[in-house]
Assembly symmetry: C3
Homo-oligomer: 274 residues x 3
Amino acid sequence: MAIATQAAPVISFLSDYGLEDEFVGVCHGVIARRCPEARVIDITHAIPPQDVSIGALVLRDSLAYMPAGVHLAVVDPTVGRPDRRAVAIRCGERALVGPDNGLLWLAAEKLGGPDAAVDVGGSPERLNPVSSTFHGRDVFAPVAAALACGLTLTDVGEEIEVSGLRALALPEAEVREGAVVAHVLRSDRYGNLILDASFPALAQVGIEAGGAFTARAGERALTGRHGDTFADVGAGALLLYMDASRMAALAVNGGSAATALAARPGAEIVLRSV
Amino acid sequence: MAIATQAAPVISFLSDYGLEDEFVGVCHGVIARRCPEARVIDITHAIPPQDVSIGALVLRDSLAYMPAGVHLAVVDPTVGRPDRRAVAIRCGERALVGPDNGLLWLAAEKLGGPDAAVDVGGSPERLNPVSSTFHGRDVFAPVAAALACGLTLTDVGEEIEVSGLRALALPEAEVREGAVVAHVLRSDRYGNLILDASFPALAQVGIEAGGAFTARAGERALTGRHGDTFADVGAGALLLYMDASRMAALAVNGGSAATALAARPGAEIVLRSV
Amino acid sequence: MAIATQAAPVISFLSDYGLEDEFVGVCHGVIARRCPEARVIDITHAIPPQDVSIGALVLRDSLAYMPAGVHLAVVDPTVGRPDRRAVAIRCGERALVGPDNGLLWLAAEKLGGPDAAVDVGGSPERLNPVSSTFHGRDVFAPVAAALACGLTLTDVGEEIEVSGLRALALPEAEVREGAVVAHVLRSDRYGNLILDASFPALAQVGIEAGGAFTARAGERALTGRHGDTFADVGAGALLLYMDASRMAALAVNGGSAATALAARPGAEIVLRSV
């Protein structure tokens, strides 16, 4: 089955390539050569270098806003290692293309799980020669372009079992001794901290809309309020809110929660009602 | 009246979202879903965070170079506050879409003033649910896309009086005691300082092509020359010139006027002939 | 002869404008106004400011991945000086547009040499007025757009001798006293150092696949191994490898060769077998 597309086929593109070099531009060129009618939407190329978990989260949370089509993602710390497969995964009318290192996993789950998968490491669509360090250009971009132009999964790779795809485990918040023990999943340019805590879990320990709470990260603890928008707390005060991806997040009005709590992705945050 | 467009409709897009996160990419996705044939031109996303004045200036000065169409702009420090309206403004064959906080004002003035305006805060084009923090994605991008695809202002919002739109006042240079008392409107990556001084005002105090002048910012004062290009002064020397947006600007040849004068946007600069 | 193009004409665009300002966005707008059907692929805009050599290398190495069409490049330290010509060069079915300061030279050579050239400094396609500092917007972008839309070289400028085009000389590695005396041509965001050393020259001094070598940069010297991928050396160890542009390069696995050797573009690196 070919991947369904809009008027013009759309490829969304996420990576950790940054914009300091020509890596992203070269991938755009490769796509335009293979599938001139495809349109590329850059989700972001500023995933922290080699951070597969953050890449997987951003991909998952962005997909709902992207047209159906091909979703190319490259965060690839083990590029060139023989045990890292290159894959294309079909989920309904969408295809995910990238390394089989967990990067595509959360997106595939959110799209209802993989329907089929192929190993594209030896794809007939690869550039020749394939470099050992830049599979975005040599493998993933041309495969994504071929799919956007109407080829099917089995045209671009060798069928593999979807059960063998690499999963990704995220930290999970727990309710413990009347507190939610959560983790920072990611932060953004404003220093807002996105957590793995669910709103039902927060309610279970008594943290509800309008109520006060403490957030402790290591030695630091701050008191804040659970509200809707930054304006619900004073300047410099801590806010717990539902962020734009509908997840629990901490912000400091006019400041940075990441700085205030000295917390980075992976850090444990203990939330308690006061 | 529908917004006039070229072969394919064009949406220009300016914001302070930066490129470190997926905010810009997600807005592109939302636009592509609503109006697949629209083409998006990113003016810049590096407006200093929440700096409405600089956003307004850059928007105003860029529009002449953009195809007629829809101009989406989001610098929105009061997002989510009930007293901040979301608007679309028609100026001739162009539409401006963004928060009603002054950001669109200078552009609207330059386009001959607003012909009509609507409040799009409750637009039928909004995504559902609307987040409290990311109206670029949930309100402004889909409204801009709908306009690009041929809808009229009244299709996407409730008519409002153009006289009620929020204006923006910029600092204004004055001639005082034989000097031009000017202000830094913005600076660029080279450290060039764009001023609110007009060339007639400079001539009035005797600063003319080829002539020497002093520029004083707080405690610092430098002597320079009024010329055409960087090569008109020696390396490290101060130049007063007409910049690419046809405004008076200060540069240091091979250096940074912003550093040399320790001056940032908003700073007062006193210019005097010598 | 008109420049051959794909389905839609493609303009690739490389510059040192950065993304902090609206310079790149404004050039996109100018192109879209002149040739609405052209598609622009941004190779990169992060060439180090005014570094013509690095711009020329990146342009040369990227072109093979870009669709045939128009290649716009602007790194222009002498903009506005009367002795710096603005040119368009035809190489087969491709056109290069930019300043005649060596920036286009390596790309033209790689494309088989220039077939024809025109001076576009007084092009009828220029914007009016032409600023003294932003020829990307006022001269190069509109000329590139006109070529993409089917105009020929002589439509957009005055014919000049290709023999008079400004060449660019790169440093060249030498074999001396049993060592390869090489230079850093460029580095990337990972701190990898791309060298002018050829693999035959390295073999000549005994540095071959799997073998050990020393790299000396000024006072610093490190021992490394010549391999294929980062995984061929331990964490923190130095690797000599063929990079994605098929050039000899130095990397530190999980680190930065640029930092480890304190070497920047232009630095001399002496490579010796051990």
